[in-house]
Amino acid sequence: MSWPGTFKMAECGASGSGSSGDSLDKSITLPPDEIFRNLENAKRFAIDIGGSLTKLAYYSTVQHKVAKVRSFDYSGKDTEQDHEPPYEISVQEEVTARLHFVKFENTYIEACLDFIKDHLVNTETKVIQATGGGAYKFKDLIEEKLQLKVDKEDVMTCLIKGCNFVLKNIPHEAFVYQKDSDPEFRFQTNHPNIFPYLLVNIGSGVSIVKVETEDRFEWIGGSSIGGGTFWGLGALLTKTKKFDELLQLASRGQHTNVDMLVQDIYGGAHETLGLSGNLIASSFGKSATADQEFSKEDMAKSLLHMISNDIGQLACLYARLHCLDRVYFGGFFIRGHPVTMRTITYSINFFSKGEVQALFLRHEGYLGAIGAFLKGAEQDNPNQYSWGENYAGSSGLMSSSPELCPTQRARSGTFDLLEMDRLERPLVNLPLLLDPSSYVPDTVDLTDDALARKYWLTCFEEALDGVVKRAVASQPGSVDAAERAEKFRQKYWNKLQTLRHQPFAYGTLTVRSLLDTREHCLNEFNFPDPYSKVKQKDNGVALKCFQRVVSALDALDWEERQLALVKGLLAGNVFDWGAKAVSDVLESDPQFGFEEAKKKLQERPWLVDSYSKWLQRLKGPPHKCALIFADNSGVDVILGVFPFVRELLSRGTEVILACNSGPALNDVTYSESLIVAERIAAMDPVIHSALREERLLLVQTGSSSPCLDLSRLDKGLAVLVRERGADLVVIEGMGRAVHTNYHAALCCESLKLAVIKNSWLAERLGGQLFSVIFKYEVPAE
């Protein structure tokens, strides 16, 4: 895999030439033709009209260019022509499903409906699902403009459907908010079982709903003191009309001028009594006992505290009565307002003494629209699929919050977007995870670690030129490749800038999320697999060496061979094959390159070295079945992984070889692995018979990421792992074994191997460039 910041990447030179000071703005305020994307293929609509914001949801199909690999038909041909690639690549169109969500101010609703009507050509749908308080008000307008019948859906049902959907499908959807701590947002890893939970929706009033299963939920209580009380009472007290302005006032006010505090009643004695003098004894208590004018700011602040405390207290009482400790807060009172998230969090912590957790949702504003959409799409069974947030097509959290981004243009006129791709196959946990509920894929949380964040963001910026060049080079026949590549550069550069200012925009910021975002952006501009040709060449070259490498290994005695196999696995990881200098050497003498790579490796003892333990283990009985996650194409998989697989097979261990479903950098994809295996089988009887007898199985991971999230893997893989009783997991490469899963605890033996090709990271881990990680772990009995 070609890593940003690996030692060859520095050659890329200056980066981000296309960036400018206002780039952040552009990513947020989009010209209309970028807002309602793919409308031509829109199949189904839903709309959620709230008090001030409209959320439109639609389902469309997206045409993607994908690189397909296909084995040549070798029959009757001389297969060993020297310069022939091992397989052919063709670019094809593929159709995938995508959910689009757009959020905009109600004032734009007519213009937006007009726009939609003009672009709506292919839809067969006759109805639009509508929810939210404004659905009634705009019913006629929608029906007239879109010529669709409005189907009204229950607000709360939609909300909960939407909530279940995002909790299940969007990693890092929920977060806790801690003002004055760094980071302010702490994202939760997705719990495998989201139920039961409490949803406290703070709209004009408060609804408290207990959600027990996908279809079962119950309104257990509520309160009339909610957002409408803050707004209505606030407007009366301060003559300020807008909700946002009231919150602004509140954030500047001092409630102690209006509220009667404990210290106002006890005097100074509260200290000796161990009472906290600043607790509020009576909200607005001072406005009853003193003849004075109160400032708008102070009254607004007092009101905010009063309402937030009250809601928090009731939420705790309900949570306690129903023995629940997870409470999600939503509704316009909360939506994107750090001020209210802060007061609610404080209140919950106070009243529950930390036993209840106040959780907020990144896509809280979309719940109603998502739910309404799902209601209308029930016949398509959207819940049977797994979905993934498309980072390229989604605005981040708080992207339109004036409180966090005061320099950005006013809130009105900004459109917030969310896009979700339907994944071809459902994703599930790896059954071998020791504790799925506490599994965190990522090793370093860049939202937490400011130094690491700076480093990696800069790394990715510096690598951008190289990625752009690679993208253009991958499509030599395309006339607009340069133009699209430039658009890609702009988009990804903007994402990186957003993340510099708002690291929390897409959940916990990690090296993985930065890589995934880049892949999403590349796909967006139809560069589905920039490395396809590189991989093709690398695979061809490596295949030619396979037999030589295997014979050399077979000539070694057992113990030497084991070390050589492990070194072979690691060697494939050494070089950045995207770098020209290296590939030149390889092309002229691949054998030499492979040997060179091995020499580059750190001598034992390695940085992390449990090889002796592993060797000892190998002297024991064979594993039943090994699950191997492969990394790069070419030398890595062919000369590193396959010989290792071959040895395992010879020991009587079955092997499941898992490769990515979709392309990511130069990682080997599932379809490539099939061809590679076929070619190797043609040369090697061990592999041949293992494939035939299904002792070697090739599967896809369900992922298109250079990293590995063991909680989102292809269901087929999980089933196979269970069926075959896998008792060894091998994860190789920096992306899968260091940036992610370094700390992953499994309930079977595991082997994590990588070469640290980044000096900064190596230093962090206490080693040097090309330090070797060889982590063999056996779960405690």
Binding site: G205, L317, Y346
Partner: protein, 455 residues
């Protein structure tokens, strides 16, 4: 004593506040200094004390949060000097005058025992200042412009420590406390060697003033201890032959609504909701076994404070009077305003308030409401909220009788009937709201009992 001891400094304070301060501790996210504040150590809210088992056993540690305290008065906070004096009083009756004082955030509640069995001999010996206090308090119903004796609450022919007499109930705003202390100094109270047993936050706040200005040593007492003691005592002596405790039948029906006596013969367990400036909620399991469950800062002070801001009223009575003439449905958004009727999906009746002040989001509707409507809405909002929190506490504590006390309920039938109705409706008849005639005076009574060492 003549011209009213509360006269002088009071003209400046136009607003006679009417609610007592029970201390309702509420959190404030980081104050000006940005530090996180610790919840109360002693009387911390126990809103989420370990879920169901909370009522199972009393902890031995008196300092533990939210744990029931088994020894009332053990934390009186009295100085050792006054403690000694109290100790010595145990042997013989304390000297007259007998006062119990409860200094809240808004109101001071004073109970005074007037001995009616004074012998001629005694009267002769009675020092002049003592006599003048007795005469002054018992012959007036108002003191200065803000001190009021609630004559209708007077308890007649009470026997306390072997003495027969009447118990008087007097209140005045806390901001007149300096005048009260000054009066004590002017009248040379300290020469009477009397002990002032005082509870409420003001006992602490004004302790130094009592000492330096009035030369009076306060015996400070825990307010929740006093509250419980007072309630149990007053309930036991009844109300001049009538029942102290009562409830409402058909509270929602103006025609059929009836206030009926309630015999609190099985008082335990009991949820006690004290609504002063703020609200404290206690679970009482026996005479000296109780815990503070939680509290809310949305109390009487909030109702009156918001009314002052919204309507410009200046007294609690005025606020209530306005509320009685207003229509809260013009201010509040009801379920039927949103759903056109009942929200059947969730079993919500159309008349329920969906959003308090929710209609006030609209400019047109803001312009269409009267001050009376706003006062009414404020009253309904605060009352409903207290009812809702009380109901949740009762469910969590598994208690089904809820006694509401505190001066917020004084002359406040609207609130009482609403509490009665709300509790009954939302609990489907499982919970009963009870009230008590002496509403806000229990703390002061408890302080008096402490003085007399009546257990």
């Amino acid at each position: 004593m003549g011209a009213g001891w509360l006269a002088a400094p009071m003209e400046r304070h136009g607003r006679a506040a009417a609610t007592s301060a029970s201390s309702a501790w509420e959190p404030v996210p980081g104050g000006p200094d940005g530090r996180r504040r610790e919840p109360l150590r002693r009387r911390a809210n126990s809103a989420s004390a370990p879920a169901v088992g909370a009522s199972a056993s009393a902890s031995a540690s008196p300092s533990a949060e939210g744990v029931r305290r088994d020894r009332p008065g053990s934390y009186s906070g009295a100085t050792s000097a006054s403690r000694q004096r109290v100790e010595s009083l145990r042997k013989k009756r304390p000297l007259f005058p007998w006062f119990g004082l409860d200094i809240g955030g808004t109101l001071v509640k004073l109970v005074y025992f007037e001995p009616k069995d004074i012998t001629a001999e005694e009267e002769e010996e009675e020092v002049e200042s003592l006599k003048s206090i007795r005469k002054y308090l018992t012959s007036n119903v108002a003191y200065g412009s803000t001190g009021i004796r609630d004559v209708h609450l007077e308890l007649k022919d009470l026997t306390l420590c072997g003495r027969k007499g009447n118990l008087h109930f007097i209140r005045f705003p806390t901001h007149d406390m300096p005048a009260f202390i000054q009066m004590g100094r002017d009248k040379n109270f300290s020469s009477l060697h009397t002990v002032f047993c005082a509870t409420g936050g003001g006992a602490y706040k004004f302790e130094q003033d009592f000492l330096t200005i009035g030369d009076l040593q306060l015996c400070k007492l825990d307010e929740l201890d006093c509250l419980i003691k007072g309630i149990l005592y007053i309930d036991s002596v009844g109300f001049n032959g009538r029942s102290q405790c009562y409830y409402f039948e058909n509270p929602a029906d103006s025609e059929k609504c009836q206030k009926l006596p309630f015999d609190l013969k099985n008082p335990y367990p009991l949820l006690l909701v004290n609504i002063g400036s703020g609200v404290s909620i206690l679970a009482v399991y026996s005479k000296d076994n109780y815990k503070r469950v939680t509290g809310t800062s949305l109390g009487g002070g909030t109702f009156f404070g918001l009314c002052c801001l919204l309507t410009g009223c200046t007294t609690f009575e005025e606020a209530l009077e306005m509320a009685s003439r207003g229509d809260s449905t013009k201010v509040d958004k009801l379920v039927r305003d949103i759903y056109g009727g009942d929200y059947e999906r969730f079993g919500l009746p159309g008349w329920a308030v969906a959003s308090s002040f929710g209609n006030m989001m609209s400019k047109e509707k803001r312009e269409a409401v009267s001050k009376e409507d706003l006062a009414r809405a404020t009253l309904i909002t605060i009352t409903n909220n207290i009812g809702s929190i009380a109901r949740m506490c009762a469910l969590n504590e598994n208690i089904n009788q809820v006694v509401f006390v505190g001066n917020f309920l004084r002359i406040n039938t609207i609130a009482m009937r609403l509490l009665a109705y709300a509790l009954d409706y939302w609990s489907k008849g499982q919970l009963k709201a009870l009230f008590s005639e002496h509403e806000g005076y229990f703390g002061a009574v408890g302080a008096l009992l402490e003085l007399l060492k009546i257990p």
